[in-house]
Amino acid sequence: MTRRFDPLWLVLGVITGTYLLFLLAMLGATAVYSSPHDLWRALGAREIRYAIGLSLFTCTITAVLSLLLAVPVGYLLSRGRFRGREWLDAALDIPIVLPPMVVGLCLLIFFQTDIGHAIEKVIPFTYTIAGVVLAQCVIGAAFAVRTMRGTFDHLSSRPEDVAMTLGCSRARAIWLVTLPAARRGMFAAASIAWARSLGGLGPVLVFAGATRMKTEVLPTTVWLELSVGNLEAAVAVSMLMVVMAVVVLASVRLMGERV
């Protein structure tokens, strides 16, 4: 007996196909606009090479810091039972829902307060590379926390309970049993933080500035080149970011299978 075809699948397929086609058309148009010559010339510029290096460096530091924050916070949100948990959960989404420029502005204003000045006496953040990392972290960590919470939600707490009955403290049970089981989620959280940081412009621009050879990361380059009307260079750097994002996505998929 043949199964009857449900037209719903056709509708769902058309919607998905249209969306995918639009994404590919967008990227294709950008790729066609730029030539290998433009890309090569962009890569030859000292400022752009610096921006690539700084982007890779700050995104990697951000990914590590975001993960260090996301693991304990995600665990607390997932396993903690306390009054106000839902409010805390919602509050931690603030960096996701705020306009990126506003996040940068909030950072800038915070570092004008007495507490901010005291912090800057130890580590200067405003208009520095440390500021680039902090601006990226505010957004990246929020996404990493969400990913880690989901990861811990999907892991049973039972093995951790058993480890405690066998002689572990809660912290040791988490270290020996839960974190090894959460390694795919941790890898995904770090990757998301990395990817969000690579593309994030608003907070970096407002808080760390757009000083060439100092705090210029790749999104800043696109913005700077566009602002002086150098569309070819802006498109070439954009294509470079697309390639980097695809390489990271593919690596995450491949490594994620093995982790």
Binding site: L155, S156, R158, P159, D161, V162, A163, M164, T165, L166, G167, C168, S169, R172, L176, V177, P180, A181, R183
Partner: protein, 214 residues
């Protein structure tokens, strides 16, 4: 010996009131009751994973009510086994002894001994993903017994198994208890299982305990 004295515990509208019973040393106690009746909560109170609002838990001559789970000298087998997802069977069986910093040779000997006894010697290098329900429960039992606890707590260890697997595992539980003389508290809602294994049978009804067989 497992002794509960006037244990009370509450979660929302549900609660346990003045729960008291004793499983004498070296006996196989079975606790029966309806699903959702608080049996697992009671077991978790004995484990130290939940704190009672009142009452005391005695294991042997020690009042363990305020002790951490790992200080109580218990072995615990949850319903689904709850194996450690990233560890091999060998690592699971040696886990409690590694925590106690026992020499590698002693751990290896104990793991081999347990694996032989429980019929899982051929599974030592496997991870939980590749194990059947019965195999998982055998591994969970071995992991709980590795450090030679005085008390073994079993939360419906046979309920998720098919008939062919349940019978041999019930035999194994009985054999292990007789050979090690460990004091057991086994939770089930199956009458046949209780009748077969229990030296002392208790029933949890409406948050209170009734001993129905000694």
């Amino acid at each position: 010996m497992i002794r509960l004295e006037d244990i009370a515990w509450r979660a929302g509208a549900f609660g346990l009131e003045k729960v008291s019973f004793t499983v004498p040393t070296g006996r196989y106690g079975v606790l029966m009751g309806k699903t959702g009746g608080g049996k697992t909560s009671l077991l978790e109170i004995i484990c130290g994973l939940r704190q009672p609002t009142a009452g005391r838990v005695w294991l042997g001559e020690r009042n363990v009510t305020a002790l951490a789970p790992g200080e109580r000298g218990i072995g615990y087998v949850p319903q689904d086994g709850a194996l450690f997802p990233t560890m091999t069977v060998r690592e699971q069986l040696g886990f409690a002894l590694r925590l106690r910093h026992r020499p590698a040779g002693e751990i290896a000997r104990r793991v081999e001994e347990l694996a032989g006894h429980l019929g899982i010697a051929h599974l030592l290098e496997r991870k939980p993903d590749g194990l059947s329900g019965g195999e998982r429960q055998r591994v969970a039992l071995g992991r709980a017994l590795a450090a030679k606890p005085r008390v073994l707590l079993l939360d419906e260890p046979l309920s998720a198994l098919d008939d062919d697997t349940r019978e041999p595992l019930a035999d194994l539980l009985h054999k292990v208890q007789r050979e090690t003389a460990v004091t057991v508290l086994h939770i089930t809602h199956q009458r046949s299982e209780a009748a077969r294994l229990a030296d002392n049978l208790f029933r949890l009804e409406d948050g209170r305990i009734r001993e129905v067989q000694t």
